[in-house]
């Protein structure tokens, strides 16, 4: 049930993201963005543009070039779009809540191998682009898909290695457990006491406190993961596989109508997946900073709830809404960050992209893993 609702919501969400991107680029470039599409003169800030896009894409002709492999040409966009949609399955939108005797968790599937699943799904998406380029019988497409394959598999390695630090800190691959572990705080200078003995002044241990988020425990891991996963998604500044100025449109040059639309959609759905993943692993997931779940349930249930005559169910429901809203705010912030990066940085050269991956981030992520491991053991977390 949750999965069906989620699928529909996600399907509806992707077009809205295209609107956000157009609007944000308009604001950043100091012009008036998409605002022409209207129904009877009503434009709603250009929000009808995504709708117009979908109708237009659906009613366009489906052109398959001569000499193309018709079967592969048809299934490539499906292979690209499906992994993007199903990656949502393991991202938790909220914690676990108890209503009466019933337990509700806001996640579709909650396997122990949650992050491994993301990793696997990410590699399947590579096939879509490679097959699309090869099946099109077009030189531009082939060049684009070759670039895409090399870039995506290279960054997949570093992406996998850059989050190992987080697994070491949280000791789990389960995304719900990771979010749960971040629903607390830690003392920033606590390590000084452990390593050098002695005690810190009370005001340091009292006020130098941060939420136990991945971004504070693994700042380098966060930067590397963000870079890698943006390169995985082939969005600017890593959009070499589809660089318009050299390769026409890269691997989907020969795609039209909704087949092109699926590639387009998968890219924007992945933007949301990336935002959800970074939120879960590095930004505390659904956790409200400094306010843990027990605290919210306890205060609302025993304070306001008892006063107004509501039961525990009310407290849990309230907590659920607060957590979901927090999660959405964080996701939107990360989406905004990705789009801001897209309109800020110019495209890299291909050798720079590959050098960044193999010569900078791969050694750095290995160093990060062992430094984190040593620190985890020394501090006895």
């Amino acid at each position: 049930m949750t999965a069906v609702i989620l699928g529909v919501v996600v399907g509806a969400f992707a077009p809205v993201i295209t609107w956000i991107e157009r609007k944000q680029s308009a604001v950043m470039q100091d012009r008036i963005g998409a605002n022409r599409a209207d129904i009877g003169g009503i434009t709603i800030l250009g929000l009808l543009h995504p709708l117009a896009d979908v109708i237009k894409l659906l009613s366009k002709e489906d052109v398959v070039p001569t000499g193309a492999n018709r079967v592969l040409h048809l299934i490539a966009p499906v292979i690209a779009a499906v992994p993007a949609i199903i990656a949502y399955g393991v991202i938790p939108f909220g914690s676990t809540y108890v209503f009466g005797g019933e337990t509700i968790s806001l996640v579709v599937a909650n396997p122990d191998w949650g992050f491994l699943y993301i990793f696997v799904i990410g590699s399947i998406a590579t096939y879509g682009t490679v097959i699309a380029g090869w099946a099109s019988n077009n030189n531009w497409s082939l060049l684009g898909s070759l670039r895409a394959s090399a870039q995506m598999i290279s960054y997949e390695v570093t992406m996998g290695l850059s989050v190992v630090g987080c697994f070491l800190v949280y000791e789990t691959l389960k995304l719900t457990d990771m979010a749960m572990a971040q629903d607390t705080t830690f003392r920033v200078f606590g390590f000084v006491e452990v390593l050098f003995g002695g005690e810190l002044p009370w005001w340091v241990s009292q006020f130098a406190v941060l939420p136990q988020w991945g971004i504070f425990l693994q700042p380098l891991g966060f930067l590397m993961f963000l870079t890698c996963i943006m390169a995985e998604n082939k969005r600017p500044p890593f959009d070499l596989p589809e660089s318009e100025s050299e390769l026409v449109a890269g691997y989907f040059t020969e795609y039209s109508g909704m087949r092109f639309g699926l590639f387009f959609m998968s890219e924007f759905i992945e933007v949301v997946v990336i935002a959800g993943l970074i939120t879960t692993v590095f930004l505390g997931g659904w956790a409200v900073p400094f306010l843990s779940q027990e605290w919210i349930v306890d205060r609302v249930g025993n304070g306001f709830g008892a006063f107004a005559g509501f039961g525990d169910g009310f407290a849990n429901g309230f907590c659920m809404l607060v957590h979901f809203a927090t999660f959405l705010v964080k996701v939107v912030a990360v989406i905004w960050l990705q789009m801001a990066l897209r309109w800020t940085l110019p495209r890299f050269r291909y050798d720079q992209v590959m050098d960044l991956c193999w010569k900078v981030m791969l050694p750095l992520s290995l160093v990060n893993i062992f430094v984190t491991a040593a620190l985890v053991l020394l501090l006895g977390e």
């Binding site: 366009k60 499906v82 949609i85 598999i153 997949e156 190992v164 070491l168 909704m258 050694p363 290995l366």
Partner: protein, 117 residues
């Protein structure tokens, strides 16, 4: 355990239904007016001179081989990280021993110029 798979199976079905459904609607709504020139692969207005299905630069194969090596390594890191405090310093040293040959291999590849584009 099985419940994990049901959730994923359901979302997989939903995902495939969304993708295939969109293609089917497109198939119904889209016009079909095809002629030879329209169906030619795009080549900046010229007809295609060389077929794209020929040999590629060996670089890409090299990257793929490197990917296999390091991806397997990355997968070994995952279970290790999940039980790390239980195995402690022994696990740390064991992983260091496992990583050194790979790091040397990377260094060798680097020196040989295998990572240059």
């Amino acid at each position: 355990m099985l419940a994990d798979f049901t959730g994923i199976l359901v979302i997989l079905i939903v995902g495939i239904a969304v993708a295939v459904g969109m293609l089917c609607v497109h198939l119904v709504l889209g016009p079909r007016r095809q002629f030879r020139a329209k169906n030619e692969p795009f080549e900046c207005g010229e007809s295609q001179i060389v077929s794209p299905h020929r040999r590629y630069a060996v670089k890409f194969y090299l990257v793929a081989i490197l990917f296999v090596i390091f991806d397997v390594e990355a997968i070994f890191f995952y279970p290790w990280a999940a039980v790390f405090t239980e195995i402690g310093w022994f696990g740390f040293v064991a992983m260091a021993v496992f990583t050194v040959p790979l790091a040397v291999g990377l260094l060798y590849e680097w020196m040989k110029g295998g990572l240059d584009w």
